[in-house]
């Protein structure tokens, strides 16, 4: 566990630097949303994000300028997976099996409620392999370019493009199935 100040030992002031403050301020939302989309429940997301940045504070001297997001990304994946392993994966925390939950098919009115939409989004992402999910999240939600994703993830650009294509197909197909069920439900009423 991190000890941001005490471990700094004789030079805690080294932690008090504008670069770290700016890094947190600029990237906190990115890290927090990434953690959420890889399955960290909202109740734990603040904690997890804090752990990521505490880790960054302890390594700030080793993080090259321009590589901050790559560091935060890999750290967030690590923290997120550890947090998920540490807790029982309750259905209410990590989404649901879509095939078993026909009531997941939302009406348009329900989608006004963003929370509901996010639950469905996370349920869909949960069923996607992690390597596809992170590329999908970084591209479609965080709106990074493929080149930026390749740099952050540390994967060749061609691999990113391939994963992104598969992820988009997978996601679109799942959404289409939800819509089909919704339409079917309406017809049956």
């Amino acid at each position: 566990m991190a000890t941001p100040l005490s471990e700094a030992g004789a030079k805690p002031a080294a932690l008090v630097e504008p670069r770290l403050a700016r890094l947190i301020q600029e990237q906190f939302g990115f890290v927090w949303r990434l953690l959420r989309r890889i399955g960290v429940p909202e109740s734990d997301a603040d904690d997890a994000a804090q752990q990521v940045f505490i880790a960054a504070s302890q390594r700030i001297g080793d993080i090259r300028a321009g590589s901050e997001r790559a560091f935060l990304f890999s750290t967030a994946l690590h923290v997120g997976s550890r947090m998920r392993r540490g807790r029982a994966r309750k259905r209410e925390d990590f989404g649901v099996e879509l095939e078993e939950q026909p009531d997941l098919a939302p009406t348009v009115d329900e989608l006004v409620e963003r929370r509901r939409a996010r639950e469905i989004l996370d349920a869909l992402l949960e069923e996607m392999p992690l390597e596809l999910r992170v590329v999908f999240v970084l591209y479609e939600i965080e709106q990074l370019t493929s080149a930026e994703i390749a740099e952050v993830v540390g994967t060749p650009l061609g691999t990113v493009a391939s994963r992104l294509r598969r992820a988009r197909e997978d996601f679109s197909a799942r959404v289409a199935r939800i819509e089909a069920r919704r339409n079917f439900g309406r017809q049956g009423q």
């Binding site: 566990m1 991190a2 000890t3 941001p4 100040l5 005490s6 700094a8 004789a10 030079k11 805690p12 002031a13 932690l15 008090v16 630097e17 504008p18 670069r19 403050a21 700016r22 947190i24 301020q25 600029e26 990237q27 906190f28 939302g29 990115f30 927090w32 949303r33 959420r36 989309r37 109740s43 603040d46 904690d47 994000a49 804090q50 940045f53 505490i54 504070s57 997001r69 939302p106 348009v108 989608l111 963003r114 939409a117 996010r118 469905i120 989004l121 869909l124 591209y139 479609e140 939600i141 965080e142 709106q143 370019t145 493009a161 294509r165 988009r168 679109s172 959404v175 819509e179 919704r182």
Partner: protein
């Protein structure tokens, strides 16, 4: 350079698909979470003094203005600007001159528009009954940077919380802290009234945080003692406890650190500080 495909949200997809993507993009952490992380990492003081200095600078030329110049100054994000701003603030704080009033006022006027962090400390624990202050809608310093406009495209929750910033109160400026001593100032009756002393609370904690940041744990503890005696109903108690925890850890007073850690876990078991408390108690394996 490759040709990236059109993003699903911009493509001819279904309404449901777009709603899901949109919901994901719009989710934001609370400003308080950002603030707590800045505190936990130990840079909240740096940020607030930087912002205060920038705000003071802009306020000096355009008091009561929208804060746009200051926003631009911060958004530039240059190390030079930050350093200069920090040193300016540090100089002002060290002197404890009357301009500290200006800094505090500027903090409440413009820091919210600048960073959302000091402002968030106002939001933190505030009931929301206070009058919202005008905030430049374009000021989203935690949002996109000029060099990377796509990373954080929207920060609606942050902005929403910023709208809850109280109007600049009749600011009570905390006197410059003594080099050593139990309390930075004698209790003021007016300072204990709810809603009237938030700026003073923030300033008091900033001072303690800065002392801790420079490794002066005894002074930080003295300032925290002063804070608790001065504000009978503190609204930032979790941060006070966290700072105490770090200060005791820094001084090697393990028994006191563990006592504070237990208090944090008892009172705020789900707070971000709880993780640190568990670590101090050795409960996180």
């Amino acid at each position: 350079m490759t040709d990236d495909p059109t993003r699903l949200l911009d493509d001819e997809g279904s309404e449901l698909l777009k709603s899901l993507i949109s919901a994901g993009r719009e989710e934001e952490p609370h400003a308080a979470a950002l603030r707590r992380t800045l505190v936990a990492v130990g840079v909240a003081g740096v940020l607030s003094t930087t912002s205060a200095a920038a705000a003071a600078t802009s306020t000096a030329t355009a008091a009561g203005a929208s804060g746009t110049p200051a926003v631009g100054a911060f958004a530039s994000g240059s190390a030079g600007a930050s350093t200069a701003a920090t040193s300016t603030a540090a100089a002002g704080a060290a002197k404890g001159v009357a301009s500290s009033t200006l800094i505090v006022v500027a903090k409440w006027l413009a820091v919210g528009a600048l960073t959302g962090t000091v402002a968030s400390s106002a939001v933190y624990g505030v009931s929301g009954a206070l009058t919202p202050a005008p905030v430049a809608s374009s000021a989203s310093p935690v949002g996109p940077t000029p060099s990377d406009p796509k990373v954080l495209p929207r920060q609606p929750n942050m902005r929403d919380e910023l709208r809850e910033i109280p109007a600049p109160p009749a600011v009570e400026v905390m006197p410059p802290p003594p080099a050593a001593g139990p309390a930075p100032a004698a209790p003021e009756p007016s300072a204990e009234r709810a809603g009237s002393s938030l700026a003073a609370e923030v300033m008091a904690l900033d001072s303690a945080r800065q002392a801790l940041g420079t490794g002066d744990a005894p002074r930080a503890l003295a300032l925290l003692n002063g804070y608790e005696s001065r504000f009978r109903e503190p609204r930032m108690l979790p941060e006070v406890l966290y700072l105490r925890l770090e200060a005791f850890t820094l001084t090697g007073d393990r028994a006191s650190a563990e006592a504070v850690a237990r208090r944090i876990l008892l009172a705020y078991p789900t707070s971000p500080h709880a993780a640190r408390a568990r670590a101090v108690l050795g409960l996180d394996k």
